[in-house]
Every structure is written in C-alpha cells, then in structure tokens.
C-alpha cells in the first residue's frame, strides 16, 4: 500500500525548511497545526493559501479544517503585514485611559480602519486585546515595542517618523 506522499517544499525559499523543521520536531502530528502556523507567520509575516495548503497536506489535516483553525485564531493574519505595524491595545485599563480616542486618531491619520494596512503597504493598524502592560495604559506597540502613556500627539509623531522613511 502506497504511503501518502509528503508534499514537496513550495519553493526554494529557505524559510520553508524552518516550517518543515517545526513539523518534524512534533512528529508531523496533527496537533502541531497551531504551532506550525505560528512558525509560518513568524517566518513569512502572514499565512497565505499556499502555506496553509502545504502545512495541511504535510500534517494530513483536511484543507477546510486547517483553514478553519487559521481563521479562528485572531493572532494569525491572512494578509501581508505592512512594513511597520502600530498595535493599539484595547484592553480594559487602556480603554479607561482613552484607547478609543487613540484608535480614532490613528484611523483618521492613516486613512484606514483598524485591521487594515495602508495602500502602499507601509503601515498596518492593529487593535490588540491586552498586551499585559496595563499599568502604562494607554499602551501602543510600535513594531512590537511597548510604548506606554501614549497620547494622540505622540502617536501621530511616531507615525510621521515612519512615513518619511
């Protein structure tokens, strides 16, 4: 009986070896799906159809099930990220200290809604649920770096700094 063939790496890109390694480390078990998708996202920045298909086939998970998992968890993005990402924390403490206004400021300044990326793919705006730095509310993450006690003015300043790059 022929064994189910392991799909070949989608391209020569070395990052696929990292993804393959993550699956191998877990014995290609089905339960490694979420860990593997994390590896894909940290290597490529987001999940696209090809990568989900590759992981699903390698782990022998039905395509729709893999897609269902990829879209259930909000940490995963199915769209390419911007060159920079501004994440505004919308947790309770940050909300009490005015995160709503920060989101509005950012949306107006960038001309996009939270969850979207600017037309030129330079800046992505994300609303996060809570990053755990509540004592520094309102918190904003600029490319993953925590910036606390943020104000609308400071936020615009940082966004402009990115814009001129």
């Amino acid at each position: 009986m022929a064994l189910y063939p392991m799909p070949s790496l989608p391209s020569e890109d070395k990052r696929w070896k990292i993804v393959s390694g993550a699956m191998r480390k877990n014995g290609y078990a089905r339960h490694a799906l979420i860990e593997t998708l994390h590896t894909v996202q940290s290597s490529f920045g987001y999940l696209d159809d090809d990568s989900i298909r590759f992981v699903a086939r390698s782990l022998r998970v039905p395509l729709s099930q893999a897609y269902g998992v990829a879209t259930f968890y909000h940490y995963f993005s199915l769209k390419p990220p911007g060159k920079h990402t501004v994440t505004i924390c919308a947790g309770t403490a940050c909300y009490i200290k005015g995160s709503d206004a920060l989101v509005e400021t950012a949306e107006k300044h960038l001309g996009i809604a939270a969850g979207e990326t600017t037309q030129d793919l330079s800046i992505g705006l994300v609303k996060a649920r809570c990053v755990g730095a509540c004592s520094r509310a309102p918190v904003v993450m600029m490319d993953g770096e925590v910036a606390g006690e943020m104000s609308g003015a400071l936020l615009i300043e940082q966004l402009e700094r990115w814009a001129v790059e």
Binding site: A32, I96, C130, A133
Partner: protein, 546 residues
C-alpha cells in the same frame, strides 16, 4: 537530586552573594523594561565597575507598583527608588551605605504593609533566568520532599486542608479537583497549566511566568505526582513572548538539574512539560476550549459533563489549573495546609494577586490576604483616585465580572461576597473607574469584547452578544429607546441561562451590574439623549428629538 544537593546549591549561592556588600535589584518586567530599565541596569553596572565597590546588580521580576517604574531596590539598605533613569546610576551607586538619593526614593510603606506575599514572595529577589536563585530561596524543596517522603494522597490531603481554591476565576476547591483526577482510571493522565490570561487588564500570570517560572514548574510537578500524570503542558498566550522564553529556559534548567524527566530524585516518578502557544482567542481560557486548542483544533468548548478531570486531553483524565494556583502549591507544601488556611476568611483562604489598574495612583500588582476590604486595596494600597477625580466604580472579574460602586467599598474581598454584589473574583483584574467613565459605555465595551471573542458554536452567545452590542450601541449614541432597554434585559437572561460555556453565561454580567447600580445613566442616555460623563458621542441631540 536530593535535599542535601539542593541545600548545597543554596549554600553556594549564599556564599557567592556574601561576596557583595550591596545588592541592586533592577525590575526588568515588561512595564519597567519598556521605560528603559535595560539601560538603567547597564548604567548601574558601569557605575559599579567605576566605583570599585563590591555590588551585585541583578535583573529581577516585577516588584509590584508598576506605575512608579522603572524600579530599583537596594539591599541591605531596603531602599526603593522609582522613575529611575540611566543618568541616575552614578548617584545611586554613590549613595550606597549612606543616605538614599532623596528625589528618587519612594516610601510606599502604605502600599506594601498591607500586602502579604506568597505567590510573589520571590519578586525583586531573584533573577528569573537563574534556577539557582530559585533554589537558594527554598525552591524545589517541596517537590523533592514530596517525592521522597510523601505519598500522592498525602499531598492531596495537604491541599484539601489548605482550602486553596482555583485562582483562575472558577474558585473550585483545588484539593477536590486533584482528588478527582487522581481517582480517575488509566495510566495516562495530563496536567495543564492555563497561562492564557485572556482577561484584559490582568497581568498577574504574565508576571509570575516571566518573573518566577520555576514556581510554576515546581507546582505542576507536584500536581503531576499527586494525580499520577507523566506529561504536562503550559498553555501560554502568544502575546506573552517573554513568558514563553523564560519558561523555556526554566524547563531546560530544571531538566538539567534532574528535576524534570525520568526517575526524578531516583524515584519512579517521571514528568516532563511542553509549552503550547495560544493564538489570540479569549475563549481558549475555558478548559474544554483550551484542550481543543492543544489538540490543534478550533477552540470550541464542549458541554460538560464529561469534565476534563475524567475525560480531557485526547480523552484522558486531565488536571487543569491556573498559573497562580500552581504558584501557591510549593509554599503550601513547605509551610503546611494550616498555615495557608490561617490566612483569609470564611471559605476564601490564602492570598490573591490583583492587577490594580485604571484611575489609581499606584497601579500595578498587589498581593493581599483574602478578606481585605476593597477600600483598603484602592485607597490605602492603591493611593486612591488621582488628579482630584471621584471614585465611581471598580471593575473585577474581567468581561465575566461586574462594576462595584462606592457603597460597597467596605466589602471584604472573598469569592462569595463579590458574587453577592453582582461581580466575581475572576482572575484578579481590578480596574478603577472615576467620574470620567460612562458606565453604559463600559457595558458596551465588555459586550463588544464578548461578541468578538465568542467562538460561534452556540446561538445564545453568538447571536445574543451581537444583538446586545447593537442595542447598547444605540443607547450610547442616543438613538436607544425604553423598549431597547427592555429587550436588552430580556436577552441578558437567555444569554446567561442558555449559553453553552462560561463565556456566554457570564457575558451579560457587566450589563447586569451596571444596570443594577447605574440605571440612571442608561435612562439619561435614552430619555434625554445625554451622556452624564460626557464620554459617548451622542448622534441625536436632545433638541432635535423635541
């Protein structure tokens, strides 16, 4: 590994530390780190070198009052410096052994005196990446003693005597849970540590996982011994990369020392732990959804019974406890169940870590004995509401909890009392609100959260929270009517009683509690198209409606 070896390691650490005349502990937790604590530590290191003094500069975990960060503690002077910058390094080193630097010194005696540190007993004293620091403070003694001198049922007996209840929010008696898993048949069982900490505004678990990872590991190992498990998982939310890194280092170090793996301490006990990442789903804090996530599936909860203790991960008996629950295990084993149950009141024994944030002077982590009043926490320890504003409400229990107003400030904090006033203990988030908060908007905020975190499996939660959100948004923007309010209250009942899991069942709580204490604000929005706190953007001005 045995007790003698642990003592030897502890002794060598003590001897090493004794070479120094002073210790400077720099908090490198997330909040302080984001304000330049890294540079502060570097500058202090350089200043110490230049001064030629024998000083240990140590990276430590969250000491508590995050809003005063970056924090630096100096021993043996017992001085606490706040808002420290790299430029202060020379001054601090210069003052060692003399009067402390006046403008940096903070006297938070009020803040610390009423606290009781059990879970956070190592905060500020150890380097979280050094297992030896943990061992030097009695780390792993409880595990080794339990393995070599007690039986699993002895351990469970001790837990039961302590009256420890689950710290994740459920408050289920821990000894009882462990006993149920221990009694379950089969020789494959699992222990899971719930490090998802989905409640926005809560970061106690993050702090413990980052600042004292071995405490969690030791607690899990003791639990595994007690219930007969050989494999453990720590489920950490993806938004806590530092916690994942610290736990990974901790696990590696524990294995190296023979405290995890096969035949630990030359006994038949085998136990090892893997880390599993969450991926941004609050519902995965619920036990059955968490299990589904570890199994690589969508985080949909399942109807209970069967309970995870009987049929959990891959159908096997599974013990799931919160990070803080595990953090209490080693101290209980070391000091005894009676010691633990001597703290607290009624059926709420021991201590609880709260993340005190929002409109409060001293924001950060506090650990207090159960039974302390809200007023003591907010006014004495927290320093009250700043900037001349008035206290309005304190929100506990996250999206599953409620808002408690002024009239209940003298309430003793216990599981039961919080439920009586319309809230819950929850995981420990405590957000203080002042007169600038609109309680209807707060209710809308929480329902929006539940709506976007609902897994979608059951109709009451999926569609119910969406409809409740629509109704609350109408009320907030001035287009709501009294029949909308009636409908909202009606939906609360169905969502609460008919939902499949805890997320849906508790989603109406913030709405119900704000309606209980701040109904007038709802009426004001509806009848007069006005937001008393001036927060809501009213779309329909009162004049137009006339």
């Amino acid at each position: 590994m045995n007790i003698e070896e642990l003592d030897q390691i502890a002794e060598s650490v003590r001897q090493e530390n004794a070479k120094y005349d002073h210790e400077i502990n720099v908090c490198m937790d997330l909040a302080c780190a984001s304000q330049g604590a890294g540079q502060v530590k570097e500058a202090l290191g350089k200043a110490v070198l230049a001064s030629g003094q024998r000083v240990l500069v140590r990276r430590t975990s969250c000491m508590g009052p995050c809003s005063a960060g970056p924090l630096v503690a100096v021993d043996p002077e017992d001085t606490l410096y706040r808002h420290v910058k790299a430029s202060h390094a020379e001054a601090i080193v210069g003052c060692l052994g003399k009067e402390p630097v006046p403008e940096l010194q903070c006297d938070l005696r009020e803040h610390f005196d009423q606290q009781m540190r059990v879970v956070l007993e190592n905060a500020g004293h150890i380097d979280p990446e050094k297992i030896d620091d943990y061992i030097a403070r009695e780390g792993y003694k409880a595990l080794v003693t339990a393995l070599t001198e007690s039986s699993p049922s002895d351990v469970i007996q001790l837990l039961t005597e302590s009256e420890l209840r689950g710290r994740g929010g459920g408050g289920y008696p821990t000894g009882l849970k462990w006993g149920t898993v221990a009694k379950a048949g089969g020789d494959l069982k699992y222990v899971i540590c719930n490090g998802d900490e989905g409640d926005p505004g809560a970061f106690m678990d993050r702090s413990v996982m980052e600042g004292d990872p071995h405490r969690v590991i030791e607690g899990m190992a003791i639990a595994a011994y007690a219930v007969g498990a050989s494999k453990g998982f720590i489920y950490v939310r993806a938004e806590y990369p530092l916690a994942v890194a610290r736990l990974t280092t901790g696990l590696r170090e524990a294995r190296r020392r023979g405290l995890l793996g096969n035949n630990i301490c030359n006994t038949p006990f085998c136990f090892d732990v893997e880390i599993r990442l969450g991926a941004g789903a609050f519902v995965c804090g619920e036990e059955t959804a968490l299990i589904a996530s570890i199994e690589g599936r969508r985080g949909n909860p399942k109807p209970r019974p069967p309970y995870p203790a009987v049929s959990g991960l891959w159908g096997k008996p599974t013990l799931i406890n919160n990070v803080e629950t595990f953090a209490n295990i080693a101290p209980i084993l070391r000091k005894g169940g009676e010691w633990f149950s001597s703290m607290g009141v009624g059926r709420s024994k021991g201590t609880k870590v709260f993340a005190l944030t929002g409109k409060i002077m001293n924001s950060g982590l506090v650990e207090v004995p159960m039974g302390i009043t809200l007023r003591q926490i907010i006014e004495d320890i927290g320093g009250g509401v700043p900037d001349g504003h008035q206290f309005k409400a304190v929100q506990t229990g996250g999206p599953s909890g409620g808002c408690i107003p002024n009239e209940h400030l003298d309430l003793q904090v216990t599981y039961e009392s919080l439920v009586q006033v319309g809230s819950i203990m929850g995981s420990g988030g405590m957000i203080v609100m002042d007169d600038t908060s609109c309680m209807v908007n707060v209710a809308r905020f929480f329902i929006e959260f539940c709506r976007s975190e609902s897994c979608g499996k059951c109709i009451p939660c999926r569609a119910g929270t969406a409809q409740m959100h629509t109704l609350l948004t109408r009320i907030c923007d001035g287009s709501g009517s009294m029949s909308d309010l009636e409908l909202l209250e009606d939906l609360c009942v169905t969502v609460k009683e008919a939902s499949l899991c805890g997320l849906g069942q508790t989603a109406p709580n913030p709405v119900l509690s704000t309606l209980r204490y701040f109904r007038n604000e709802y009426i004001e929005h509806i009848a007069n198209k006005r937001c008393p706190a001036g927060v809501c953007a009213i779309q329909v001005p009162a004049e137009v409606m006339a």
